[in-house]
């Protein structure tokens, strides 16, 4: 056998016939490189529309023991499948359990969680702007302390040195991809890259949002917004596999509920369109 280690080049020939044939796959569209996660019917509709506009396939599949998913076959160099989750990280169909199952059955190396988020700064961001996570901070992980005579008589400590609120970094390759696409997002919206607050709470209180923004350490980039599913993704793999790309549907203040359906649609359309457009343009970058 040719030496593996030593002064001779280990391998240089990879052309045509020297490559062993690829093993057959029982489920040819199950194995993929990237997973798109969606959690709501608005995200599903946005995905269908963006796929139609970009002329990308979106085929429903059902595999015994795995369940239902959709395949977009190959978008540029990435084989892409879509899995639906429940909102939030909890439960069998929540983002945490789905991430572990989907990564193990598809061999995917990356997860892109699409959808909606709240923006952190109503004066600096607009509805429909797209947020890309450089990291997430799981704000539920905190120490609650008694404050005698306080109002309320307790407080949250996010920087307890024995039990600090964790921050998880997103996948570098995906962050690099979407951050580099931010200057040309393909629509009338801006892209903000930074840290997300992530937790199981549906926040409809500007006071609580501001409390989190003031109290939770954001790391080396400022918070750009918050959401509910990202907190479930870090456990899926020791090496970070995930990124969040989400449109701003609100500012976590519960304001103006009558216009929420329209804002939600804008947020989903922009985030999904941005992701699919960026993936389709990847081939142009590969010379």
């Amino acid at each position: 056998m040719e030496p593996l280690v030593g002064s001779k080049p280990m391998v240089t020939q990879v052309a045509g016939g020297t490559i062993p044939p690829m093993p057959s796959q029982d489920e040819p569209y199950l194995v993929c490189d990237l997973l798109l996660f969606i959690a709501t019917s608005s995200e599903k509709m946005a995905l269908k529309e963006a796929a139609r506009q970009l002329e990308l396939p979106l085929e429903g599949k059902h595999v015994e023991g795995v369940g239902s998913f959709r395949t977009m076959r190959s978008i540029g160099p990435n084989r892409v499948n879509v899995f639906e989750t429940d909102m939030g990280p909890f439960g069998y169909r929540g983002s945490a359990a789905t991430a572990m199952r989907a990564m193990s059955v598809t061999s995917a190396t990356g997860i892109i969680q699409l959808g909606m988020a709240f923006g952190a700064y109503p004066t600096l961001q607009n509805i429909g702007d797209v947020l890309v996570s450089s990291s997430i901070v799981t704000y539920d992980f905190r120490t609650m302390r008694e404050v005698p005579g306080g109002n309320p008589p307790y407080e949250a400590d996010y920087a307890d040195p024995k039990n600090p609120t964790p921050r998880f970094e997103a996948r570098e390759s995906l962050l690099n991809l979407f951050a580099n696409a931010a200057d040309d997002p393909g629509g009338d919206f801006r892209v903000h890259v930074g840290t997300f607050l992530s937790g199981g709470a549906r926040i409809q209180s500007a006071s609580y949002r501001n409390h989190l923004l003031r109290s939770v350490p954001s790391g080396d980039r400022p918070f750009v917004g918050g959401e509910m599913e990202g907190v479930g993704l870090p456990p899926a793999n020791v090496d970070p596999a995930w990124i969040l790309v989400k449109g701003i549907s609100d500012f976590a203040d519960g304001a103006d509920p009558g216009t929420f359906p329209e804002r939600r649609a804008t947020a989903c359309n922009n985030s999904v369109g941005f992701v699919l457009r960026t993936l389709t343009k990847l081939t142009e970058k590969l010379q």
Binding site: P23, P77, S107, T109, V238, D239, L286, Q287
Partner: protein
């Protein structure tokens, strides 16, 4: 190094989790001439610290542990290519390279390859394919040189360690053991 320290070894500990592993810890053991352990430092795994220990010619406690350590070293070394070219293209180039390499004939990698699937890489008209392949090859060859030049393993031992390390890297990257544990593969 303290004057009475005659040998330094490192040890990677990766406790199994429900699926996969918990984050790795790195232990650095300092031994006296009579092989008595004088000191043991524990730190979270750090790619740069590991690279520094390799440069200082610090071996792992045994070859199995060296393979675990080098699987993490490979992960760090291959990350720039992954970051530059993205998951799908990098996966395709990496898997093609491994299939065509002598590693594909070694037992640990051979057993894994039927469970690893990737597209044929897009070759285009420019240099992306060659550049990505060179980054992959350079990262792996540099680990081979570390084993033979820095850590002074004989070629046969180095081949075994690197082959096991590559298999473990591929296993984790493509969730092979995790999928098997769940009954998928």
């Amino acid at each position: 190094m303290q004057p009475d320290v005659s040998d330094v070894r490192c040890e990677v500990l990766r406790p199994p989790d429900v699926l996969g592993y918990k984050p790795a810890k790195l232990y650095v053991h300092f031994y006296a001439q009579d092989a008595k352990e004088l000191l043991c430092d524990e730190v979270d795994w750090d790619d740069e610290l590991n690279a520094g220990l390799v440069a200082l010619k610090v071996k792992a406690i045994d070859e199995n542990n060296e393979a675990q350590r080098f699987s993490l070293g490979l992960r760090a070394a291959l990350r720039p290519a992954e970051r530059m070219y993205g998951d799908g293209f990098f996966n395709a180039v990496l898997v093609e390279w491994v299939r065509a390499s002598p590693f594909a004939q070694t037992v640990p990698v051979q057993e894994l390859l039927p469970h690893v699937h990737a597209n044929q890489p897009y070759r285009g008209n420019g240099n992306s394919y060659e550049n990505c392949r060179d980054l992959v090859q350079t990262a792996i060859r540099a680990r081979a040189l570390e084993l033979t030049e820095n850590l002074h393993y004989l070629r046969e031992k180095a081949e075994g360690i690197l082959s096991a390390a590559l298999a473990q890297y591929l296993d984790e990257r493509f969730s092979v053991s995790v999928g098997r544990a769940l009954g998928w593969k």
